[in-house]
Each structure stands twice: as structure tokens, then as C-alpha cells.
């Protein structure tokens, strides 16, 4: 018997450490010794904190939303043979949660199942056997061939064929080469790379070592976001373990191949996810992209040929080597092979990580696996690809998730972040939100990107403020065309996407803001109007008490209250506080 506790970033945020402490205290006071295994993210993030009870025969009972008290009850019940406790059981070996059952896990296979700080745990799951296979019986060319057969495409956004990238790097004439792992995951709303690094760091290392062997690199660098301290810590531990086990360093496993890995932390710039900016940052410069070609495969870090691969891309590599490229190519759709991890967030009922074969539809993911929308509302759209992507409206939810089909909608696969939106999300506000992001993150090199996004943001801000003008939509479209055409890197080129897709599918919302000065989703604060229905107001005065602007007047002699509109700051406090049975505050 043992216990397993999910201690990824979100598990810790949800209170995982308090659970750990409670369990340790309880066991101490009872004088029992049970192993508490610490694991990473299993992807059931909506149920955090997660606690597993594992029987000796391998049966697993997974409990969700556990707190300190609950965890002790679970422990007691199982020890006394009264388990499992049905009411907070979310999944078990006999009856796996539908959420997990419908997934196909290659990259996330070990996440949440093994202790990420233990190399033995990883080894027990066939870990490092792919590396052994490569070193014993495969030439670098054969490794590249296998990856080419698999059809693996980069998961960092652009979807470039990984085999081709490796081949080009290997064939570039040079003494030294670099392998760089891009762990800068900047798309706000995507967290799959973080979960892989926190939950199964050795898989990424194994992928890197194999990649280095294939391209002929002796040095590897992981460029990781500074916002992911736990991922950095687990990577550091994993690297030391790999070094101690002869998997990194000189003459790996006794073969004539040497490779080592260091970690460089990013310093908070989204544009550094772009490969040439990332290399500039590694060289200690400002992270500004440069013109391609020359591509990094010819002229990369310090002028040497370099292959830059995303975390998830690399985590696929060991599986492909173990099972063969053909097996991988058999999964997914014609042009998009294998599986993809998606991070679901927003108004979704069961948010978390989902790994599915490419080619299944958005609807299957959002409704089939994740249970649809949180409250009793209707889904409106799903945002994919973050600031470079776009919004896919409800009508198009039957679009399969593969590179081509998603591009056709105007959105992109991107890194796989999916933010689900319901009727209460304003699409103009969302476009403004993304432009605000890209505008701040532009490195400033290209005029169109630097100033164009600023102008677009100003227009969107005035539309959200109710000061939009006739012709603003067309102006936005015109600016978009200029910016995409004249920007150097992907950031500028794709910055208009969120605006263009929302105009394409939700033009009526833009028009309502501009012509009627109304926000249909009731999100744009300055277009809201709060009032009190005199027939419903019972004169309790709670709203007048809560109003920070002190603009709710009336109430003498049990008269109804009213709002002085000129001073109202539209904070919504009155609406929140008015007792439900009166519901006298109206928002329109």
C-alpha cells in the first residue's frame, strides 16, 4: 500500500502541501509508516488536490478536491478496510474517469504516475531504454530516418517536420553543434510543457540525448521560463541523476558519444520563445529576432548549427524510438501524425490536460472529454493558439484538430492552449486583451509591429469604451494586413489573428459596440448601465452601503433607492450585494 499525492504547480496552489503535512502528522501520531509518493500533474487539474491510494496489487483509487481533513479520512477508511470513500472518488483502476479513459497518452504517459524526482521510477517505465537502443544499434542517420518515418511535427507552434530539421542540422558543415530545448512556453493559457517538465523531466532529457546523438551535438541547453521555478528545480535534479548514471557527460553508457545539458532561465519576454530571439537571449543580448535564412540549422547559437525543439516534441522521441516510427505514424490524421496535448482552461467544466490523437474534433475534446461549459451557459467559441491564434466559433466545433483544418479557420494549432469561452465573454474585449499583450511584448525592431499594434490597440480600446467610430472595423482590417506583411517574426506576423478571426465570426459584436454602444456579453465596463428597479427594491440599503462611489441615493422612509448615473463607477458591487430574493439591481 502507498499513497501518491499530485504536487505539480497547480496541485500545490490548490493546497497539496497542506494535505501532505496533515497526512505526515496523522501517520506519525498513529505510528504507521506508509510511503507518500510525490508525483506531477496527471492532467485532472480541475480536481486538484489529488490523492491516490495504491494497493499492493496495483489497484489505484484517485480522490479529488482533497483537503487536510479529507485526506485523513481517506487514510483511515482504507486502513480500516472501509475504502474506497465513494463521495470524493474521481477515478479508480476498475472505473477510470471518463476524462482519462478517452485519452491516448504518449507524452503524458508517466505524468502524475511516477515520482519525477526519481530516475528509478522513470527507468521502471522503460525509461532510457530508447537511448540504449539507439546507442547499441542505430546510426545517427537511422535515428533521423525513424523520426522522418514517424512524421513527427514540431509542437512549439509552427509544426515543422522534426526529422527534416535534424537532418539539416546534421548535414551543416561544422565542428560543434547545439541542441536547444525550447521551454519558454509563453502562450498565456497553455501549460502542457510545464506539466511535462514537472511530471516527467527524464522523458525530455532522454529525448534531448537522442536528438543530440542524431544531429551530432555535444552541448544541450534548456531555455526555461523563469515563471516555472518548480520545473527548473525538477530538471536540475533530473540532470544530476542522469549524470550520476552515466547518461549525460563523457562517453555516455560507455559509447563513443558525449553530451551534456545546462539550464538557462528566461527573463520574462514572450518574444524569446521565437527561436532566433531565444538564441540572442542565450548569447546575453536583448531577445530580438533576426531575419531567416540563415536558419538556425546552418547558423544558430554562437554561429554554430543548432536544432531548437519544443519540450513536447522531444518528449515524443523516446516513444517513437521504442515503438518505431510506423507505430507513431499510424496514429493521428494524414498530415498530422501522433497525439497532441491540449491545455483546457477558461469556462470549461473539467479543465486540465488532454492528450488525444490528432484528427478528432474540437467538439469531442470540449464536450466529450471535458464536459462542456461550467455554468448553465452556452459555449460561444474556443480560442486556440494564444496571441498568435484565433477564435473558433461554436458552429465550427466539428473541425478536426490537425494543422491544416485549424489553419483554415483562421486560428492555429499553436502550442495547444485552448481557452473556452461562453456567452459572458466579449469577443471585442478578448481581441483587445491579446493586442494589449502583443503590443507590450513586441521587441520593437519592426515599425509595423511596434507602432501598428499600438494603433490597433487604441482603436480596440476606444471601441470597448463606447467611442468606436464607423469605419473602425475596416481600419483594423487594413492595419492587420500591413502588420502581417511587414513584420519580421511570427509575433508581428500573427499579432492581428485574434482581431481578424473575431471580426470574421463575431462582426455583429463589434457593430453593437460601435453603433449601439452596447456590449452584448456585458463585459465592457464603460458600456454597462446599472439601475435599481423601484418596484423590486425593498429599501434594505445594502447597495448604498456597498457602493464605493457613494452614488446610491434615496431610501428615506422606506422609499426605493436609485443610482446617480453620472457618478457610478460601474463596479458592480450593488448587483453583487442586492439579496437574490429582491434582485432589484438591473444590469443592461
Amino acid at each position: 500500500m502507498k499513497l501518491r499525492l499530485g504536487l505539480g504547480s497547480c496541485g500545490i496552489a490548490a493546497g497539496g502541501l497542506q494535505v501532505l503535512e496533515a497526512l505526515q502528522n496523522e501517520m506519525k501520531s498513529r505510528g504507521i509508516k506508509l510511503e507518500i509518493q510525490k508525483s506531477g500533474c496527471i492532467g485532472l487539474c480541475h480536481h486538484e488536490p489529488l490523492l491516490d491510494w495504491i494497493e499492493d496489487d496495483g489497484q489505484v483509487f484517485t480522490y479529488g478536491a482533497v483537503d487536510a481533513r479529507r485526506s485523513v479520512e481517506i487514510l483511515e477508511a482504507h486502513l480500516a478496510g472501509r475504502g474506497p470513500l465513494e463521495d470524493c472518488l474521481v477515478s479508480s483502476s476498475d472505473e477510470p474517469a471518463k476524462y482519462l479513459q478517452q485519452q491516448l497518452r504518449i507524452v503524458l504517459k508517466n505524468c502524475g504516475r511516477i515520482d519525477p524526482e526519481s530516475i528509478e521510477d522513470y527507468r521502471r517505465q522503460d525509461g532510457y531504454s530508447a537511448l540504449q537502443k539507439v546507442l547499441i544499434g542505430m546510426s545517427p542517420e537511422e535515428v533521423i530516418k525513424e523520426i522522418e518515418v514517424s512524421g513527427l511535427r514540431g509542437r512549439g507552434g509552427a509544426g515543422f517536420l522534426t526529422g527534416l530539421k535534424w537532418k539539416a542540422t546534421r548535414e551543416a558543415a561544422s565542428e560543434g553543434r547545439y541542441l536547444i530545448c525550447n521551454a519558454d512556453e509563453g502562450d498565456p493559457g497553455a501549460f502542457m510543457d510545464r506539466s511535462i517538465l514537472e511530471g516527467d523531466p527524464h522523458a525530455v532529457l532522454e529525448g534531448m540525448i537522442i536528438a543530440a546523438y542524431a544531429i551530432g551535438a555535444e552541448q544541450g541547453i534548456i531555455y526555461c521560463r523563469a515563471e516555472y521555478p518548480l520545473a527548473v528545480k525538477r530538471l536540475e535534479i533530473a540532470i544530476v541523476q542522469a549524470q550520476e548514471n552515466g547518461l549525460l557527460g563523457k562517453k555516455i553508457l560507455g559509447h563513443n558519444f558525449s553530451f551534456d545539458i545546462s539550464i538557462q532561465q528566461g527573463a520574462g519576454a514572450f518574444v524569446c520563445g521565437e527561436e532566433t530571439a531565444l538564441m540572442a537571449s542565450l548569447e546575453g543580448e536583448r531577445g530580438m529576432p533576426r531575419l531567416k535564412p540563415p536558419y538556425p540549422s546552418e547558423y544558430g547559437l554562437w554561429g554554430q548549427p543548432s536544432s531548437i525543439n519544443n519540450v513536447e516534441t522531444l518528449a515524443n522521441v523516446p516513444w517513437i524510438i521504442r515503438n518505431g516510427g510506423e507505430a507513431f505514424a499510424a496514429l493521428g490524421s494524414k498530415e498530422s501524425k501522433g497525439t497532441k496535448v491540449f491545455a483546457l482552461a477558461g469556462k470549461i467544466k473539467r479543465g486540465g490536460l488532454v492528450e488525444v490523437p490528432m484528427g478528432i474534433t474540437l467538439r469531442e475534446i470540449i464536450f466529450g472529454i471535458c464536459g462542456g461549459i461550467k455554468a448553465e451557459r452556452r459555449i460561444k467559441a474556443v480560442q486556440m493558439g494564444g496571441p498568435s491564434g484565433g477564435c473558433i466559433p461554436e458552429e465550427l466545433l466539428d473541425t478536426p484538430v490537425d494543422y491544416q483544418s485549424l489553419n483554415a479557420t483562421g486560428a492555429i494549432m499553436g502550442s495547444g492552449g485552448m481557452v473556452v469561452l461562453d456567452e459572458s465573454s466579449c469577443m471585442v474585449d478578448l481581441a483587445r486583451f491579446f493586442l494589449d499583450f502583443t503590443q507590450k511584448e513586441s521587441c520593437g525592431k519592426c515599425v509595423q509591429c511596434r507602432i501598428g499594434t499600438k494603433r490597433m490597440l487604441e482603436i480596440l480600446e476606444r471601441i470597448c469604451r463606447g467611442a468606436g467610430r464607423e469605419g473602425d472595423i475596416e481600419l483594423l482590417e487594413e492595419l492587420s494586413a500591413h502588420i502581417s506583411e511587414n513584420s519580421l517574426c511570427g509575433l508581428g506576423q500573427s499579432a492581428p489573428n485574434p482581431v481578424l478571426t473575431t471580426i470574421r465570426y463575431f462582426r455583429d459584436e463589434y457593430e453593437a459596440h460601435i453603433r449601439e454602444k452596447k456590449c452584448p456579453a456585458k463585459q465592457c465596463q464603460e458600456l454597462l448601465r446599472y439601475s435599481i428597479d423601484p418596484n423590486r427594491c425593498m429599501g434594505c440599503g445594502l447597495c448604498a452601503y456597498a457602493c464605493p462611489a457613494e452614488c446610491i441615493k434615496g431610501g428615506e422612509n422606506n422609499q426605493p433607492y436609485y443610482i446617480e448615473q453620472e457618478n457610478c463607477s460601474k463596479c458592480g458591487a450593488c448587483l453583487d450585494i442586492c439579496p437574490e430574493r429582491f434582485a432589484a439591481v438591473i444590469l443592461d
Binding site: 496552489a13 512556453e185 521587441c443
Partner: protein, 182 residues
């Protein structure tokens, strides 16, 4: 990267020289001097030591590495991680990523600003809290999220956020009273 950002300008007005013990910094520089491209790593270490990057630190790095102070300053202002002003004892990092945005993070920001009487990027006069924003802390399924000194909190409501802040404040004033009593 904030081209006409007010943030940088207000930073500059507070950008006076402070007398600091630079020996810890010198040790870092000695270690990294011969590594190529180590400027960002040195700045990160310096910020770990001093909590922020005072002018004297930037100047010292420029002098030791024999590069122009303008270059060091350029890097320090390009990357959002670097701060030129001392941070509060409690650094509040409010997530403004997509998932948090659609779940109402703006309202939480305005509530926090009201509660602390500061704007984003500022520190309270007592030096207790500073408020900053981040684009995604990676706990999107708990949106909206904030992190205080590395500890994440979520899902937040405006009320919850205020309660957390007030709890910290209460704890601080308690420890002060305790200190005086001794």
C-alpha cells in the same frame, strides 16, 4: 519593451544611488566573467542577492565586464523580470493570462489596487506589498490566480483576494506588536 510605458519613467525618478555592499556581486562576476553570454545570468543572480537592480549594481557590472552601462541598462529594461526598484516584502504577482482574464482577473486587479492604494508596478509606502502582473502562471485551471512570494492562490474572487491580503497585513502588525513588547 514598454515604449512609452509610464512604469519606466516613474522608475527613473526613483533611480538614485544607494550605497551597497558589492562583494557578493563581485564573486558572481568572477565566477561568470569568462562564460560567454553570461550577462543575463549575472543580472539574475544580482537580483537574487539585492532583490532588485540598483544603479550601483548595473554600473559595477558594466565596469567589470568592460561593456557600456547603456548596454547593461538596455538588457535590464528589455526583460520584464528585472526590476530597478526595490520590491515589497510580499510580491503579489497577479496573473493576467487568457484563462484568468476571461475569469475576471481585471476585477481582482482593481480590487487589489483599491485595497492597497497602489497601481500595478508599484510598492506600498510601508514597503510591505508590491503588485505586478504576469502572463500565465501555468495554473490556468485554477483561474483567476495570483502568486505571493512564490505561493499560488486560486481560484480567486475579489473578496478572497482581499481576505488573503488582510490576513498577511494582520500577521505583520501582530509580529510588530510582539517585537515591541520584548
Amino acid at each position: 519593451m514598454h515604449f512609452c510605458g509610464k512604469k519606466n519613467r516613474s522608475e527613473e525618478t526613483n533611480f538614485f544611488e544607494v550605497q551597497l555592499d558589492l562583494s557578493a556581486l563581485m564573486k558572481i562576476i568572477e565566477e561568470k566573467r569568462h562564460e560567454k553570454g553570461s550577462l543575463i545570468a549575472i543580472l539574475q543572480k544580482a537580483q537574487e542577492i539585492y532583490g532588485y537592480l540598483p544603479l550601483s549594481v548595473l554600473k559595477c557590472i558594466a565596469r567589470e565586464l568592460e561593456i557600456k552601462p547603456a548596454k547593461v541598462y538596455g538588457i535590464a529594461t528589455f526583460y520584464t523580470q528585472f526590476r530597478l526598484q526595490a520590491a515589497g516584502k510580499y510580491q503579489i504577482l497577479l496573473c493576467q493570462g487568457t484563462a484568468c482574464h476571461v475569469n475576471g482577473s481585471e476585477r481582482i486587479e482593481s480590487t487589489l489596487c483599491q485595497e492597497l492604494k497602489i497601481k500595478r508596478g508599484e510598492t506600498t509606502p510601508d514597503g510591505l506589498f508590491s503588485l505586478e502582473s504576469a502572463a500565465c502562471l501555468g495554473c490556468c485551471s485554477l483561474a483567476p490566480v495570483m502568486m505571493i512570494n512564490g505561493q499560488a492562490y486560486g481560484p480567486l474572487t475579489a473578496e478572497k483576494a482581499v481576505t488573503i491580503i488582510r490576513k498577511i497585513k494582520a500577521g505583520e502588525s501582530l509580529s510588530l506588536v510582539g517585537g515591541e513588547a520584548q
